[in-house]
Amino acid sequence: MTNEAYREMWENLNLDLAAHDGLLSVLGKFYGDIYMSQQGRLKGMEYLDFVLSEVHGLRIKELQDAKAQGRKIVGTFCVFVPEELALAVDAVQVGLCAGADAGREAAETLVPRNTCALIKSFIGFKLARLCPYTESCDLIVGETTCDGKKKAYEAFAEHAPMHIMEVPQTKTVSARALWKAEVLRYMEKLEELTGKKVTAENLAGAIKTVNDRRRALQRLNRLRAAVPAPISGRDVLLINQVSFYDDPVRFTASVNTLCDQLEERIKAGDGVAPADAPRVMLSGCPMAVPNWKLPYIIESSGAVIVGEESCIGTRNTRDLTDESCRTLEQMIDALCDRYMKIDCACFTPNAERLDNVESMARDLKVDGVIQYALMFCQPYAHEGIKVEKRLTAGNIPSMSLETDYSMEDVEQLKTRVEAFLETLK
């Protein structure tokens, strides 16, 4: 479908059409340069290309159709919000736009200038009326994972219907109790929004749906670890990004199809990069769509990314929810346990993340780790120092980079990345 066919829908969503056209054309060019220029991509990536080309089109149309059928749309920013609950009451959950520099001047009227690019982005998208997902939402769920987000949501609540989940900052028994209370409070909110009850039956189905998606992504992560790497890191990042807004069942099926193709490619010994290309793992802050800057720099410097230790990566897919529960109460507990395993830098202490980073680097046989922090992201910048020490002690080369969504530091980043890769040879 062409953009013309969607104009009426965008107009109804009150988007700033001229600015939105500009965004789409920049995004299209960016995608062409970074994705379509790759050699030897898998056929299964066509689905992802299609989804991305229709990211503000067909998928938004699907959301409008769902709304017309009485389903509710829930927007989120964080892997702590249990999608299982939204699916149980037949709502659609989508991750909201936060990966591009948009509406920054407007955002800076609500949040301080030294706020990370991700926060400024979601506020900018809203204030500049550029994100059809945000505009489609019946409820937007925030969470207290950092001070920047916490305070930003207060300001954001004046512009959008918000529900805030209090994510604990420790992993003590009392923190677990707080988290359970928050999960139940969120469940009530969803029941009130949709007029539907969460039952053992619908929640069991939702747990299975979300687990299936995690299993497909786990399978992808196991396959991509082959030598030579059968798929680019950019493509895997894109798949992870799309997992936040595509229909979960359809998405899982297409990832599994892609994995079948990967298995064939591995059998044939084909790779997207030469077998001796340096294998790099990314670790740290999430890269929300369309934040592809650093992966593109790394891979166009001759390395291949074989893992993303990030919320848009393994932090979101590593742990499954126990599917053996029978009662609703047991299922809620299983959900709480699963989400409390997330090794987000917002926790203190967060020692398990150090173990996870190191063991992931070893499992993936990486030549080096590039730590990525968004500028002004205190939690990950702090942990970056600890991770660096741990990796150095384990003789795993690493480098830390801090950047944002602007393009002005691309040349400096290239020099650093290339120099790091030179040290790995």
Binding site: E408, D409, E411, Q412, T415, R416, E418, A419, E422, T423
Partner: protein
């Protein structure tokens, strides 16, 4: 002959090697037209191959120079160049036109951990060039001028624009300009020493890049790192040629490997 070409933000250096000997050294300002400047520099040179480094390294590769051009980063190039002068070097400091790099060196000039300044040119040659203008003296003489200071005020701003404001208000307070100049140099050196410490400041330390010509920077760096120039602080005769030299050495290595 094998060429090493270093296209930096402020200047272009070319080093030509035949076998193990440096047989050619040329330099020119980068200007707004680095391609024309480079072509003029290469005029009359016939080379078998070249290795390009610096910000313009990809630019050189895209030119049709009639011989193969490889690229390496300026970090690797400076490591190799410094090790040629001083094989015993353990740490390298390069302050160029818009970059400062602190590099831990491994045997053979290989790069260990490294640190680079961020996107902003604070604390680089550009900072000195800009602040020298406040005193209406050429940047080449700024270091010598600053050495006449004896009581440097603390200057906190690393941003060139803010540093100028700070320097101007110090002048208004009647602080001797030589002391302000010294304070400006000291502010860069302090920041630089922080970077050096982050990579582990093992000695001897080699100081290269155009800013290593500045006598005040050398003296303050020695003071702040507890080193002695000529012993634990080593500065080659032509510190700004180090990157091009390292690139040429890498070209020699590639030529040997492919022979």
């Amino acid at each position: 002959m094998i060429l090493g070409i270093d296209i930096g933000s402020r200047s272009i250096e070319v080093v030509g090697m035949a076998g193990d000997e440096v047989v050619e050294k040329r330099r020119a300002p980068t200007t707004f037209n680095p391609v024309a400047q480079l072509r003029a520099l290469l005029d009359g040179l016939s080379a078998r191959r070249a290795v390009a480094t610096g910000y313009g390294r990809k630019l050189v590769q895209d030119l049709d120079l009639g011989f193969p051009v490889e690229t390496i980063t300026e970090i690797k190039a400076h490591g190799l160049g410094a090790a040629r002068h001083y094989p015993e070097a353990r740490t390298l400091l390069d302050i160029g036109g818009q970059d400062t790099k602190a590099i831990a060196l491994l045997p053979g000039g290989r790069v260990g951990k490294f640190e680079m300044n961020d996107r902003c040119a604070a604390g680089t040659g550009k900072f000195l060039e800009y602040t020298a203008q406040i005193f209406q003296i050429p940047v080449q003489e700024f270091g010598l001028y600053a050495l006449f200071g004896d009581a440097p005020p603390i200057i906190n701003s690393m941003c060139t624009v803010f540093a100028e404001t700070e320097a101007t208000s110090l002048m208004a307070q009647g602080v001797r300009p030589e002391n302000i100049a010294l304070g400006l140099h000291l502010s860069i050196v302090r920041r630089t020493v922080n970077m050096l410490q982050r990579v582990g400041l093992n000695l001897p330390l080699v100081f290269v890049g155009g800013v290593a010509h500045n006598p005040c920077m050398r003296r303050l760096l020695a003071e702040q790192t507890g080193t002695v120039e000529g012993e634990t602080l080593l500065v080659p005769e032509e510190p700004d040629m180090t990157g091009a030299l390292g690139a040429a050495l890498w070209g020699e290595k590639l030529a040997l490997e492919s022979a």
